[in-house]
Symmetry: C2
Subunit: 526 residues, 2 copies
C-alpha cells in the first residue's frame, strides 16, 4: 500500500484481469497526474458539503462497497460521498483500479445492479475513482478497510499450527496512520481475528499519529461485512443487517451515522455491540456456525448413502420446522470461498495469540477440516465407477467457482478434487461458463465449451449447480456423453427423472447424498 | 405388556405417582372387570361407525397423544375414535393408568389444554380409558406404539460401546402381533433406530401373525413424534408438521388417513417419505442437529468467557439473520430430556448393528458428549467462587427438570451437577417448584420453598430459567441470600441489571456465557 512499489514497475509492466483484459500499470508520474484530478474533484465535493470516503482494497468486498457508497444520495438526490478506491500498483492488483476507472466491476457477477451503479458513479455522477496513491487517505473523512487477511494453511491442526498473515493488515493500517486526517473515521470491514481493532490497529494508528504530533483520540470502528456474491451482491451491502462497534462511543457514533448513509437502516436496522472484540467475534462465530452445519450434514451423507436413504428428501422433510431446522444444509461437494474456509481458524488463532488464552474450538475446527476434505468423497465415488483405478481415465469436472453463477474461485473445492485426480493419474478437463481464467491455477485451462469438455470423457463430475448444468436436458446430456461414461452428481444437479433417463440409456450415475436413488426403487449403479 | 405380570402383584401393591398420589394396583380380576366395560363401550363405538385406537405406553408422548386422538371429532362434532391407553401393571407404570382413568394427565404441564381435553374425553365424551390388559390390542383398528426405547449409556464412546435396549420395544411388538386384528394399522411413534420398522418390527409381526394363521400383508408405518413439553404440549401433536412413511403404500395410505383425523393437516400438511428407514433417520437427524448446535455454542461460550465477551449479546446480533442463523443457541447449563440426549446414539448404533455399515458420526457424537459434560463448567465456576474447594460448602441448586416450566426430569443436567458437587464433598440443597418427586433420584429431596433452599447457602446455582427464578427481584434475592453467598447463573436467569445490583450489594456473581459481564464495564467477580 506504500508508494515505493510504484517505482519498481516500468510503464511496460502489465496487470492481466481474470476476464483476459490486460491493463498497463501506469508510471508513478501518470498515477500522480491522475490523482491530482481526483484531489480536485474530491475537494470540490467537500466544498459543497459532501464527505470523502477512501476504500482500501478493491477486492470482492471493497469494489462493491465503493460502488454502493458512491451510490448514496441525500433526500434531494444529491451525491453524499466522493469515493476513492485504493489498491496496489502490482500486476496482481492493478487491473481492479483499471476496471473501476472504466466504470466496470472488476468481477463478473450475476447481479445486474452492480455494473449499473458502478458505471453510473464513474461516468454520470462522477463520484467514484480508483487510484494507487496512498495520499488518497489524507483526503478522506472515512477510510474503509477492505484488505485481505489470510490464513496460510487451511488445514492447520490445532492452535499452534495456525499461521495468520497479519502483516498485510498491519502494513495497510500503518499506511492509513501515516496519511489520515486526525478526525477521520477508520472503519474495518475486513474479517479479522478478535482483538484486531483494539490490540493491533489501534496501537499502530496511535503510534503513526504520535509521530505526526496528533494526540486526539482515534476514531476506529468495526463493521464486518456480510457480502454475498451472486444475484443479491449489492443488496447484501445496501439492504442487509449490519453489526458494528467502536473502540469508544464517539467512534461508534461516527460509524452509525456513516453506515446509515448507504445502508437501508429503516428496513435493516444497525446492531451496535458493546465493543469491537464482540463484533469481530460475531463474524467469526456466524461463519463458523454455517461451516459446522455443512460439515455435520456430510457425516450424515455418508451414513445415508451407505444405508440407501436419499438424504435430500429427508432434509426437505425436516426443513419445514421453521425457526429451528429450516437452515439445515443439503449434501454437497465441498466448501469454498474466502470466509467459510478460514474464519474459524482466525478465532482459534486470536484466542491463543492476541488474548493468550487456552481454549480449543475442537468441533469447529473439525468441521472446517471435514469441509476441506469433502471433495475426496466425490473422488471416491468416481474411482468406484471407474473400476477402482482412475489412471489414464479422462474426467470432465464441471464447475470451478465455489458457488453457482459466480466467478469467485478462491479456495474452491474443485481444486482439491483436481489435485487428487491428477495425483491418481487421471487426465482432467475442467469446465466453467463463469470462469475464464482460474486466478489461483493459471496453468489450468478452463474450457468454455461443455461439448468440448464432455467429449470422450470416461467420467463426468458435476461439482456445481450452475444453470448451464441444471438446465441441460437428459437428451442433450446423452448426446454429448460417451456410451460408457459415468456421471457423479455431487451437487444435486440432476433431477431424479434425468438420472433415471441416463440410467435407462446405459449410463452409470451416482449422486452424493442420494443413496444412489434407492428410495425411488432402483439403484443406478447396478 | 403381557398379562403375566399382573398375577405377580397382590392387590396391596402400590404405584406412587410423581405428584405424591399413590395408586393401588388392581388385581387381575379387577382389571378384567374394568376391561369388560371398555370392550362394551368400544364395540358400541364401532357399531356407530367409529374407530378404535389403542395407545401402547402412556408416558409423556402416549398420554398426550391418547387425549388428542380422543379429542378428534367429525364435522358434526361426533367423536371419531374410542381410545384405549395401555400401560403395565407395575409400581413404576400403573399410576399413569390410574391418573388417566381419573381424567387427569399423568404429568404436570403448563399447557392448560391437556388437562382440559383429557378430562373432557374421560368424563364427558367417555371415549378414553386406560387399562393394563393387552387384549386391548385385539379391539383396535389402529395401534400406536409409544413405548420407551432406551440407550444404556449416554456417554458411550464409539459405535462398539453403544448399547440400545431393544428388548422392551421387541416385547411390545410381540404383544401387538399376538393380539392385533389382521387389518389393524401399527403406527410407530416411538423414536427408533433406523430399520426398526422394516428390520425389527415387521419380522416380529409377521412371525406372530403366521402363528395365528394370518397371512395377509402387515400394515405398518412410522410417524415419529415431535412432542414438546411446555406450554405448546397439545399443539405439538395437533397443530404441528408430521412426517410419516409406510413399509408399503397401503400402510402409508392408512397412516395418512388416520393422522389426518387428529392433526390439523390444513395448516400443517403431512410429509410422506419414501420408506420408513428415511422417516426413522429424519427424527434422529433433526435431534442430532439441535444437539450439535447446542454443543457448538458451548465451545464458543468458553472462549467468550475467557476473552471477556458477553456471548448472549453477540448471539442476539447474529440471530437477526433469519433463515440461516436465527436458530443459533445461547450459552447454557446443559442438555437434558429424553430425545436430544440419546438420538444420535440410536443412529450410530443402527448403522453398525441393523445395517452393518462402517460409518462414524464423529462430530455428532462429540456434540452429545460435550452436552453431557457441560454442567461441569458450571461446577468449575462454582468451585472458583468457593475459593477452589467445595468441600463442606452448602450449595443451593435451583432447577431440577430439564426445561423451564416443565416437570420432566429425564436425563436432566442437574443430576450431573449434583453428582459432581457431592463427589467434591459439598452439601447440596435442591429446589424446583415443578418437581415434587425426582423420579430418577427418589432419595434426593426436592425442596418446594426457595427461601428454605437459599437459607445459609454458601453458593447458589441457577440451572433453569423457571419463572419462579426469573421473576425474583434483586431485592427479594438479596433478602434471602447470605452476605457472603455467591451466585452462578447458568441459564441467563438474571438480567444484567439484577446482576449489577447483587454485585453492588457485595455478592459475587458470574454468568455462563456472560464474559463475567465485562462488556458492561465491570467484572462481577473482582
Amino acid at each position: 500500500m506504500s508508494a515505493e512499489p510504484d517505482r519498481l514497475f516500468e510503464s511496460t509492466v502489465e496487470s492481466p484481469s481474470p476476464d483476459g483484459t490486460v491493463y498497463r500499470i501506469p508510471s508513478e508520474a501518470e498515477s500522480r497526474a491522475a490523482f491530482r484530478r481526483i484531489v480536485e474533484a474530491a475537494e470540490a465535493h467537500r466544498r459543497r458539503g459532501g464527505q470523502i470516503v477512501a476504500v482500501q482494497g478493491l477486492g470482492f468486498v471493497g469494489a462493491a462497497v465503493a460502488a454502493v457508497v458512491a451510490n448514496a444520495s441525500d433526500d434531494a438526490g444529491e451525491r453524499l460521498h466522493y469515493v476513492i478506491g485504493v489498491d496496489l500498483a502490482t500486476p496482481g492488483s492493478y487491473w481492479k483500479v483499471g476496471k473501476i476507472n472504466e466504470g466496470e466491476p472488476p468481477f463478473r457477477t450475476p447481479d445486474a445492479k452492480l455494473p449499473a451503479i458502478l458505471r453510473e458513479a464513474v461516468q454520470e455522477r462522477e463520484n467514484l475513482r480508483a487510484t494507487t496513491c496512498e495520499e488518497a487517505y489524507s483526503l478522506a473523512d472515512v477510510i474503509i478497510v477492505d484488505v485481505p487477511l489470510d490464513v496460510e494453511d487451511r488445514v492447520a491442526q490445532g492452535a499452534q499450527e495456525i499461521r495468520v498473515g497479519l502483516a498485510a493488515f498491519e502494513a495497510a493500517v500503518h499506511t492509513i496512520g501515516r496519511n489520515m486526517r486526525p478526525d477521520a473515521l477508520v472503519l474495518v470491514e475486513t474479517t479479522v481475528p478478535m482483538g484486531a481493532c483494539e490490540r493491533v490497529a489501534l496501537p499502530i494508528l496511535l503510534e503513526e499519529r504520535r509521530r505526526r504530533g496528533i494526540d486526539e483520540p482515534v476514531l476506529l470502528a468495526n463493521a464486518y461485512e456480510r457480502v454475498m456474491l451472486g444475484p443479491g451482491y449489492v443488496d447484501s451491502i445496501r439492504a442487509f443487517r449490519r453489526t458494528f462497534a467502536g473502540v469508544d462511543e464517539p467512534s461508534a457514533e461516527r460509524a452509525r451515522s456513516f453506515l446509515s448513509t448507504f445502508i437501508d437502516v429503516e428496513g435493516h436496522p444497525l446492531w451496535q455491540l458493546g465493543d469491537t472484540v464482540s463484533s469481530e467475534l460475531g463474524k467469526l462465530l456466524e461463519n463458523s456456525y454455517r461451516s459446522l452445519n455443512i460439515a455435520f450434514i456430510y457425516e450424515w451423507t455418508l451414513l445415508a448413502e451407505k444405508i440407501g436413504v436419499n438424504l435430500f428428501e429427508v432434509v426437505d422433510s425436516i426443513r419445514v420446522r421453521t425457526g429451528t431446522h429450516d437452515n439445515m444444509r443439503y449434501p454437497g461437494f465441498g466448501v469454498g470461498g474466502y470466509c467459510l474456509t478460514k474464519d474459524s481458524l482466525l478465532a482459534q488463532w486470536s484466542a491463543a495469540n492476541l488474548f493468550g488464552v487456552d481454549t480449543e474450538l475442537g468441533m469447529t475446527l473439525t468441521g472446517l477440516k471435514t469441509n476441506y476434505e469433502m471433495p475426496l468423497h466425490t473422488l471416491a465415488l468416481a474411482e468406484e465407477l471407474a473400476g477402482g483405478d482412475l489412471a489414464g481415465k479422462t474426467i470432465a469436472v464441471c464447475g470451478v467457482s465455489y458457488l453457482a453463477e459466480v466467478a469467485d474461485t478462491r479456495n474452491t473445492p474443485t481444486e482439491t478434487l483436481l489435485d487428487a485426480l491428477l495425483e491418481r493419474g487421471a487426465r482432467v478437463k475442467v469446465h466453467d461458463p463463469h470462469v475464464v481464467t482460474w486466478v489461483e491455477r493459471p496453468d489450468t485451462e478452463v474450457l468454455q465449451s461443455l461439448t468440448h469438455a464432455l467429449k470422450k470423457a470416461d467420467g463426468v463430475v458435476f461439482a456445481l449447480p450452475h444453470r448451464a448444468y441444471t438446465e441441460l436436458s437428459a437428451e442433450e446430456l446423452l448426446a454429448q456423453l460417451d456410451r460408457s461414461a459415468f456421471v457423479v452428481d455431487a451437487q444435486d444437479v440432476l433431477t431424479d427423472e434425468k438420472a433415471q433417463l441416463l440410467h435407462e440409456a446405459g449410463r452409470r450415475v451416482v449422486g452424493v447424498g442420494k443413496g444412489h436413488w434407492r428410495t425411488r426403487g432402483y439403484h443406478l449403479t447396478e
